[in-house]
Symmetry: C4
Subunit: 495 residues, 4 copies
């Protein structure tokens, strides 16, 4: 560190490019080139002062020690030779006050390199209410966190010395081509984080060739989405309305929309979960969504968007009602939200086309089982089901390795919901970037496991020993289907 060196204003002003940027603060000269991209407030605000005096702007935002603390001593270039200060120098310093709002700028998209990054940015840049609504989950967040941690506890058993030069991630979902075994899981109100909302997602899915699961509580209608992304493939997530005619109308619209390939009836949200972060933040009561007769409001329980917007959903839906759904659509019908092998078998017996193992991202019933545990339960208790219908998984997918684990264990494809909303923060480009990341991570995971197509993904590639003991082993209770009569608790068979 040449801290005794005196530098003239002429010398300093030569370093004014992004790749060679010095600034002066309190007559100390610093090389901030390497720091530009790390600056929490973005690089542009610094570049305004490249080769110039930034004291005034700096002082409005930072305390004097920040530079010294954050830069290594090697970046200290010396002291400004004050005798060289002249009019040019003084004029060169921009007079506009730095805009503090810059601190609020999102980091450049290319600096986000995984799904966690999108979540971090959203936590800082989305409105408080949007963040609360998107990120919240039921009560103590146990299921939300276990969704991810159970994936992390599955080990690979990678095979080496296999030719993995080219890798193919293509698959089919309900007969529809998909470039990845990944779809966007239905998630409500994408417009809260970006004006383009679900339109951005639809266009990204169209470009990247994956399926977009559209929420009943989408900020845009299916027609809007078809218009914006005319060759996209959708499935529609239905919340059955207590007023059945309204749901029937929606089913008819979807069936008439050639881009809609399937109906997913939601069954994991018979009653709205208690999402406390969502309740604690006041909602904008002007908010409504076009395909559901819902209107935000704040009541004595709080401002929970998730709870209030769900007001129209019929909590009386039963297996019998699925016949009614079939009557109103020719499309494949799947269930979203199966959480037990017992109900998976019932779904198979009911002739459904697929089931999405999901706990609603942990948003509805805390300590409901992580989806990957339910997938293992199917492998253990009803493996024949994989021959009869497609099985999907969502809740907790954050990495390409997570996708591959689910596929190895029998899933046809997996969905990502929250992460896609967080990516929508950057509009269509953000969602595309996230899909690219997931593809890259999946391909890397496949190659490093020694496989090149999804057909090769099989259970022998994963070691679930660390979570196998969590998988329920008991057979379905004999009386379970008719609902247990009598108060007397039954002995736990597995004890």
């Amino acid at each position: 560190m040449a801290h005794n060196k005196l530098l003239s204003t002429q010398q300093v002003s030569q370093h004014k490019a992004p790749q060679d940027c010095w600034i002066v603060v309190d007559n100390h000269v610093w090389d901030v080139t390497d720091f530009l991209e790390e600056h929490p407030g973005g690089s542009s605000i610094i570049l305004k002062y490249a080769g110039r005096d930034a004291t005034k702007a700096y002082s409005e935002v930072h305390t004097p020690g920040v530079l010294k603390t954050n830069l290594p001593p090697t970046k200290y270039m010396g002291a400004l030779d004050e005798s060289t200060i002249d009019d040019d120098w003084i004029k060169s310093s921009p007079i506009e006050t730095p805009q503090v709002i810059l601190d609020n700028e999102k980091p450049p998209l290319h600096t986000l390199i995984n799904s966690h990054d999108f979540e971090v940015v959203a936590s800082r840049k989305a409105s408080k209410k949007t963040w609360a609504f998107y990120s919240s989950a039921a009560t103590d967040l146990i299921t939300r966190d276990a969704n991810k941690s159970c994936f992390d506890r599955i080990w690979f058993r990678p095979r080496v010395l296999r030719n993995v030069r080219s890798v193919d991630t293509k698959t089919k979902i309900l007969g529809v081509n998909s470039n990845l075994p990944l779809f966007v899981s239905p998630a409500a109100m994408a417009k809260l984080i970006h004006p383009d909302g679900e339109c951005a997602i639809a266009r990204a899915c169209e470009d990247k060739g994956i399926m977009h699961g559209v929420s009943n509580n989408s900020s845009y209608t299916m027609e809007d989405l078809r218009n914006t992304a005319p060759s996209a493939n959708f499935f529609f997530q239905l919340y059955v309305n207590r007023d059945r005619e309204k749901s029937a109308a929606l089913l008819r619209q979807c069936s008439a929309n050639p881009n809609v390939k399937a109906i997913f009836v939601t069954v994991d949200a018979a009653w709205p979960g208690k999402r406390e972060a969502d309740e604690r933040v006041k909602a904008d009561e002007t908010l409504s969504v076009p395909m559901a007769p819902s209107q935000a409001k704040n009541d004595k329980k709080g401002g929970g968007l998730g709870r209030v917007m769900a007001g129209f959903i019929d909590s009386g839906l039963t297996w019998e009602d699925l016949a009614w759904v079939r009557q109103h659509t020719h499309l494949p019908v799947c269930l979203k939200g199966v959480m037990s092998a017992d109900d998976a078998v019932l779904a198979m017996e009911a002739g459904l086309d697929g089931i999405l193992l999901s706990n609603h991202g942990g948003r509805n019933l805390d300590t409901s089982p992580p989806s990957i545990i339910t997938l293992l339960e199917l492998q253990k208790r009803c493996p024949e089901i994989f021959d009869k219908m497609e099985i999907y998984v969502d809740s907790g997918i954050r990495r390409g390795t997570d996708i591959l684990k689910a596929i190895c264990l029998g899933a046809t494809a997996v969905g990502m919901g929250r992460s896609m909303l967080f990516a929508t923060n950057y509009g269509q480009e953000g969602v595309e970037h996230l899909i690219d990341i997931m593809r890259d991570e999946l391909e890397t995971a496949m190659r490093n496991n020694g496989i090149t197509s999804l057909d090769e993904a099989a259970p022998y590639l994963v070691n679930t020993a660390d979570i196998d003991h969590l998988v329920p082993s008991a057979r379905q209770h004999p009386y379970a289907r008719k609902v247990a009569k009598g108060r007397r608790p039954l002995p736990i068979s597995k004890l």
Copy 2:
């Protein structure tokens, strides 16, 4: 952020309502509307300065950077145009010093949305001694914490597509109707946190239709409680006095009180536990309780209220003494504090009406078993007991999901002690609010598991695989009832 904008005092003073509130600090104008409810010191102190200059009040409590740090830049409205300051403006600024005591105000009751919130508020607002006495538990707090975490490690196995439109949480406890499978567990000296003490609890239980378990160390007598809540149902928790006549008198009074429905004899506190937080804070030696001959004091061990107030309890109580209890009351007699299947069987053989599985909230013997583990032990080792007597559980219940898990595993009802004391912080209204919260959480959990009455709650709905290995599997040792003779340790059968 329009921070260059100049705002006149006239403009500022128009934003003076709770739903549109600006304040001026150091000539900066901020919109604090959204911040009102978050303000740790309560919103009222801010509202005093709505549309006005708050600099003086602000500076007495906060350092200059607090506002900038806590508010997003979008809430900065601009600078105050100092040329517009006039006499009206100056006079409008209240001259009274802000009352620092406001920091001590409790948050509004409706902002508390779960049992944890009541605990957090009590930790901050109750006196140091009250907090220490209520929250403390034996030595290293292992049992206290495991009481809760063992519930968290039980997973649901929710069933879908069942009609859950209407849900019924009613049940009977010893033949007495209860709107919930929940009662207030006996806990001492509620007056420490609110002058109404147990009277507030009794009235809340009366209104909400649940049973109130009254502590032998209650701040009010059974007669007081009956007078304040004439249609409430109570059970009385008895600590048997070394001077048996005193206990006999209490039993006679309870038996003559038509609101008292049962006697719970405490057996998990043969000796006072070592509650270190309680010992470390000096007690008010004027404190005494009416139904027990107890008087607080500070001695060389410390100021432990729990220890000192328990001085009258007979540590020589045995199974034989239960006959003596029966002689002094016609009421059902239950045991509070059974911690093993062995003693549960003895209680069944002794003809008791019920047992409350409890470890005294972890307050007496650290590493005594979590109550839910004891419930599983009963299911495993003596399932026939559920046909013979009612089983209750307390210690660790914080959520509606916890209640449902205990019911699924065979409990008739569960108790909450500490949480109810924390709710008493807000008087009767607080306790009612907490009961409402618990009911709402329980109903939500029932619905999202696919059941609508407690009769349907059965073991097949829960997965205890993560804690099953903790359940003792050994049969009761053959000599256990006569007390092992001889020093030689016996081989551990399960190893």
Copy 3:
């Protein structure tokens, strides 16, 4: 908070007693009565200013906000009426500067209520080197921490309704009466923390009627200890010297000392462990111990007292050498530091009188097994050993519940080493206080488990299910005694 109230100097000066103490800081009057005992620098420094102005003394040590931050608003009594300041007031304020060294004062002994407290005080008040030497353990501290956590993972199975009015903790150790199943485990150089060193321990053990295990590296000789505590019972911990004659001399001295009841030959320290905290602090090279030819020094590995002082120990000691020990003493001979059932059986076959299961407090070999796991290994693999010799346990005992767990699982008595050193910080009185605490905790644990004598302590009272899987189940390998020949690793039988 009556913060607008003006208080005269006369009013303030009336509150000058420990039980009613006000002080003035910056003209604010605070009631610090309740705070006296909490003051980290001790109460005496505050009491100097009781009823007076403490501004000057306060400011030298604290920043202005400390009082406001640490005291509740209710302790603010008002502002000092400056018009009442007179000469008496000014003179009443002591002029001596507060002694910063007071921050170094130990808290009063009676405020320490468990063994952890003694450790905390030692960590703050002992010299850096003493703390490093006493508290350090081998490399990553895994064994040190597991010693305690394995106790914490054992649950009790408490029995209720047993007469526990009087409880008896007496037992015999090698035929010697002991008031508790507890002894002081040998630990080196107690003088580092208090000038009385082992003399303080010996006198405390004499008064409390428990046995004192004296380290070969004691700061005082056995004769010193016998002189200071003429009716104490000792056992002597022998490190066998490479120069056997020196050890023989020690054995002869011990055998001639009627207070010495047994010899414990240390076998868990064949080579000094790597205690990094100890190495990192420079040692005082003038330090030596009388019964071992050891002298502290700092070398290129660091300043490790434990390592350097162990230089004389013979790392070539074998089972054959025990015969040599027997030749030089008529006293019972035990082994300290057995860590496997295999060696326990060898010790039994060698005819030793007892074994102390110990890993040297985790100080010698990191990831050596926690002692309580070794005790379970004995129960599992060689239960007959409990009929043949006495088994002791140390390493990790911090609570009365720990003592009871070890006794239930077959130990005759347990030792505490580090905690006793930390208690020696307060001299004899400190050690006595700690022994009293341990007795009280043990009695409470016995009573709350439903037993009144140690004869009743048996395995059925504990549930070790959470750690049973850690207990080695393999039988001793057939070749283990002759030392495995050949490099080829043997299959792990238990896999």
Copy 4:
């Protein structure tokens, strides 16, 4: 604390030696002797002011409270008697400004006493990019951390009373003598942390008599290394180039180099892992390595050195290609990166000379199995392999106890990669110091387990019960070798 004592400048100036060093700051005299070595900026900067006034230098770097906060009150010697200040005193205070860069000095090598210390120093002193490249691992770092934690969960079963006076750590690796069962694992670009790079490592290995595994991406060529360390033993880690002729040339060079004893073909990096810390820091694009046609660059994914430099590696390598390798060298050929028993068996069948169980330090595929788990898998599923070929382990070795555990479980030797790079921070001397530390730790572990040669290291000395459940128990899937056909997932045999 004698803080009222006045000290003359003459008195102060006598304490000017490293072993007796006082300094004056703001006229307070402090004894900083004990603090010298702890000073984060190194002792030399303080010693400049020994016995003199350091106020000016101190103030440039520290706030006034630092000394008071960091030194115990006993180190305060008194106030400077200002009346004794004379010209000599004033002149004695050096006038040069303290060099802030001193904060960047590495601590003296002898103060580093374990492998963690080297990592800590590197994290602070290496360039940001070097630290990111060396320390990073794949995505969520799960495998990187489990590599270490799985070692920590293996317990020893130490044996006592065995003669461990002399201990021998010598062994043979592929017939080559090694003083330790330890080698330097291949790791790329050591020059990033020290100009001597791999030359420093080679010379250290030569001096200490262990083998140096040289990375294909070494900063120096094999010839450079042979020249600098003419009697060192190397093995060469080959990344097979898509342009086979380039690899063939390297193989020929290695085969002609008498110091190269084996070729290790890397198979755990078919595709570069996603090392996010590495991607996030911009790379110096002028960087290249001599033996690989690689050039650093920054692209849209980031600046990942690991990814970009791996661009030449052939991801199409298969078992068949090993024959091609054999054709170009007479040296023993081993595989680096086997992660399953299945591939270990294939390697054995392919006639390889050894395999290095490795997951590339967790750098390539997150949740690939910890190497020690793979070693246990071999013991469980194909124990015969230990008779047929040498097995090595790397990834996670940080302690001598880790080395011994791997040897007990059948490994011939273990490798350390990252730690050796961190030690290279200090050049050859640093690497030697680390090797000495590892030898000392290994010898201590052997002795305290009761063994004196590696031949005695056998499974009975370790208890793997805490991780045994993680070891895959399923037999290799019947179709695994021909690669599973068909999409249908296979039932998981072990469930």
